[in-house]
């Protein structure tokens, strides 16, 4: 039992990582008043492209870095739409998600002639392995780094002048402008950096964790990250806890059927899909419970129009 808990926790730490990175990035973005629901699309794009870079250069860390750049670029594009073109941010995000899904599948097919999954990487990023009885638990340094980033971004938002300016843009851009804050610039910065964090999370999926790209590899994690933003009440520290909870459910979806079949010898076939719904059901239920007390940035999703 205890070893179960330890194993689940270590696995949860892994599956938490992209969700946490996505959430922290999105919190940073949303605090400035821009909503980017394209996290899912960023995950997909940077997962694939960082994998390609890793294949070509055989350097997974360069892959991670590329993932960050891809995310930041996507964030920047979203910011241009949201800030300068005053587009409907939800529609831009939805469009981006659809584009990313289609583009990644197309790229996968045209590069590897594979329809379901890419080849597997020979080298992934470094993993800390700790033997524990019969099991070996593995911890990705990036998971620890993600927690560190959450703390860093909390600190930026709450303690620095940049954070204050960004939050001002999300609460009341007009007043922020009157106080001498460059609203457009702040929103561009926050959305770009936020996208970059999500991109890092996407790259983690392939380059650190799974080692290959599969069709729709993010499997809704981008949306779970969005749910976690609300769950955490736009606080990066609470987002760590939220991501861990979502991560645990993510693990349970795979772990419970395996455990059950090893204990009782039940073989799940199609029923397996039911277990896979666990993280999504949990998301819906958690969001339902917490949506009463959320305090979102007041100008979230509304373009700032200067006279």
């Amino acid at each position: 039992m205890i070893s179960d808990i330890i194993v689940v926790s270590s696995l949860a730490l892994t599956s938490m990582t992209p969700i946490l990175l996505g959430s922290v990035g999105e919190i940073f973005t949303e605090k400035s008043g821009v909503v980017n629901i394209g996290i899912e699309g960023i995950f997909l794009l940077s997962a694939l492209i960082s994998l390609i870079i890793t294949f070509v250069t055989e350097d997974p860390y360069l892959g991670l870095f590329t993932g960050f750049l891809i995310g930041a670029f996507a964030g920047f594009i979203h910011a241009v739409f949201a800030v300068y073109l005053k587009s409907d941010q939800i529609i831009v995000g939805v469009g981006f998600n659809m584009l990313a899904y289609g583009a990644t599948v197309l790229m996968m097919v045209s590069i590897w002639q594979a329809h379901g999954a890419s080849p597997t990487l020979p080298t992934k990023t470094y993993v800390i392995s700790i033997p524990l009885g019969r099991d070996v638990i593995t911890i990705h340094p990036l998971s620890i780094m993600a927690i560190g980033l959450a703390i860093l971004f909390w600190w930026i938002l709450e303690k620095t002048s940049l954070g204050l300016k960004i939050r001002a843009c999300g609460e009341d851009p007009k007043s922020a402008e009157a106080s001498g804050v460059n609203v457009y610039l702040m929103r561009i910065i926050a959305t770009t950096v936020g996208g970059g964090l999500a991109g890092l999370g996407g790259a983690f999926l392939t380059v650190s964790w799974i080692g290959q790209f599969t069709r729709n590899i993010s499997a809704g994690r981008g949306f779970i990250a969005l749910a976690n933003v609300a769950f955490s009440n736009w606080n990066p520290l609470t987002a760590i806890l939220g991501a861990l909870i979502f991560g645990i459910f993510d693990v349970l979806a795979l772990y419970v059927p395996i455990k059950l079949s090893s204990l009782y010898g039940i073989v799940f076939t199609t029923q397996n899909n039911l277990f896979l719904t666990i993280p999504y059901l949990a998301t819906i239920i958690i969001v339902m419970i917490i949506s009463r007390r959320i305090k979102m940035p007041r100008s979230l999703g509304t373009p700032y129009i200067k006279e």
Binding site: S161, L164, E171, D172, K174, E177, A178, S179, G180, V181
Partner: protein, 503 residues
């Protein structure tokens, strides 16, 4: 007072991209150390002119000199650097931030290296100068409006402003807060600050300013020294003498044959959404042919009381009777059908801005225009609306215009036209002339009088004591949810009412 002009604006023109003229060549001059008023009706161009001076809007043509040196502002930052500060009508504080965060944020634009801890010291220094103390850890939105305004002034001073522009600063203040604001402004003047004061209220111009620039329709009509003109002369210049022939309604007030009670409120208490008791055991009566003026500072339970009468809020205790009928348990529509009508204090609550006049006109009387199949007879709506537009003198280009394009006065007229067309027996009206120009104010007040004179009842809720006195047959004062005094306006001088409002 020195006669050195600190600000000169010459030949300022502003034409908006849609071809509308906001300013048609304005010359404007302010002396150092004076309180300079800008008087004009809504749309006269006062605010536009000042926003140009503050660098928020770029003029189409014209030159600006500060301390004799020509300046070209590309944004408020440039104006701030020249020592110009603006205190907005709607404050530029971020409501969810603390006072310190707000001050810190605004100081950052002046000095990137400033630390949060430095704010306390500077705030204390300037606070002492204007006689204002505040705990910097308070969240702005939890503070009364008057205090928020002082923070706004403090903020502007901290940024090194020597020239302060105030845009209709008293429109949100209680009489007491207004007095305090004037004290601060006079204190600033003594310390050598220059103040530009925008308003359409004559009394404030007379009471506060040294000189006044009067604007009308994008032009400067006149610049005068305040103590050399009367309020009436100012009014004539502001409105334009040719339009100032306004006849008060000639409807003779019907002699009250019998005093009938239209509304009776018996021991009503109302609890708001947060569970706070906002109205506490209120007893009130309104008779036919009477305007009952309910005075008090906004937020003392007026809104909750009005909504309880209209049926929007449930009462937690007490009963409400309308023409002898207990309506406590009726819903809004049933009460409206009985002849109650409610005009809320914010026009945004009464109108749907993105819908046109026709649609807004029938919002509260849909049933009258529907046939048995629930289909609206738009032709009849338009016919009635056309009549109302004519009768109430609502100025609009078309009936199909979204109401957000109407001026505040015309919006208010539309609301009143809509409610009157339902022929109510009791009108609850809250802050009916808030933000309206003089002509519209006179007109709306006259309508209320006519309504009263036709033998119906009005509950007038207003934080404007002048309005209360001008209209009311009886006055009641509400303070923290309780009616603290009721009586005849002749027996209740304003000082006494002020006292009851403030205690």
């Amino acid at each position: 007072m020195s006669r050195r002009p600190i600000i000169q604006m010459i030949g300022i023109e502003k034409i908006y991209p849609d071809g509308q003229y906001a300013l048609r060549g304005v010359d404007f001059e302010v002396f150092e150390g004076e309180i300079h008023g800008i008087l004009g009706e809504n749309g006269a161009g006062k605010t536009t002119l000042m926003r140009i001076l503050y660098g928020e809007i770029r003029p189409t043509r014209g030159r600006i000199f500060v301390r004799g040196r020509e300046v070209r502002f590309s944004g408020p930052w440039d104006a701030i650097r020249e020592g110009i500060g603006m205190v907005y009508q709607h404050f530029s504080l971020i409501p969810s931030f603390t006072v310190r965060e707000n001050l810190y944020l605004s100081m950052l634009s002046m000095n990137k290296k400033i630390r949060r801890e430095d704010i306390d010291e500077i705030a204390r220094e300037y606070g002492e100068m204007i006689g204002f103390k505040i705990s910097l850890d308070e969240v702005v939105e939890d503070l009364p409006i008057g205090v928020q305004q002082k923070i706004e002034i403090l903020k502007t001073l901290m940024r090194g402003a020597r020239i302060l522009i105030l845009d209709e600063p008293t429109s949100v203040l209680s009489p007491l807060e207004t007095v305090e604001l004037f004290k601060i402004l006079r204190r600033l003047k003594e310390s050598g600050y220059t103040i530009i004061y925008i308003t359409h209220k004559l009394r404030e111009i007379k009471g506060l300013t040294d000189r006044v620039t009067i604007m009308r329709r994008g032009r400067v009509v006149s610049v005068v020294e305040t103590d050399k003109v009367s309020e009436e002369e100012l009014a004539k210049m502001m409105i334009g003498s040719e339009e100032f022939v306004f006849k008060r309604s000639e409807v003779k007030r019907k002699e009250k044959t019998e005093k009938r009670r239209i509304l009776e409120i018996r021991g009503v208490s109302v609890v708001d959404d947060k569970g706070v008791e906002k109205v506490r055991e209120v007893y009130l009566e309104i008779f036919n042919g009477e305007i009952l003026g309910l005075a008090g500072v906004q937020g003392n339970g007026q809104k909750e009381l009005a909504e309880a009468i209209a049926g929007i809020k449930k009462v937690s205790r007490g009963r409400i009777f309308f023409n002898g009928l207990d309506i406590t348990d009726l819903d809004v529509r049933e009460r409206y059908r009985l002849g109650i009508s409610y005009v809320p204090d914010s026009r945004g609550e009464a109108l749907i801005y993105n819908m046109n006049l026709v649609e807004n006109f029938i919002l509260t009387s849909l049933e009258r225009y529907m046939n048995s199949l629930k289909i609206i007879d738009w032709r009849r709506v338009r016919k009635d609306l056309l009549k109302a537009v004519e009768r109430f003198d609502i100025k609009t280009r078309s009936l199909d215009l979204d109401v957000r394009f109407l001026s505040g006065g015309n919006q208010q007229k539309l609301i009143i036209a809509r409610e009157f067309s339902r022929d109510p027996k009791l009108l609850i009206v809250s802050e009916p002339t808030h933000g309206l120009d003089i002509m519209s104010t006179i007109y709306v007040r006259d309508l209320l009088r006519k309504f009263r004179d036709s033998g119906r009842g009005v509950l007038l809720i207003s934080s404007d004591l002048d309005e209360i006195y001008e209209l009311s047959d009886r006055i009641a004062v509400i303070n923290r949810g309780r009616i603290v005094i009721t009586g005849d306006p002749k027996e209740l001088p304003p000082e006494k009412i002020g006292y009851y409002i403030g205690i």
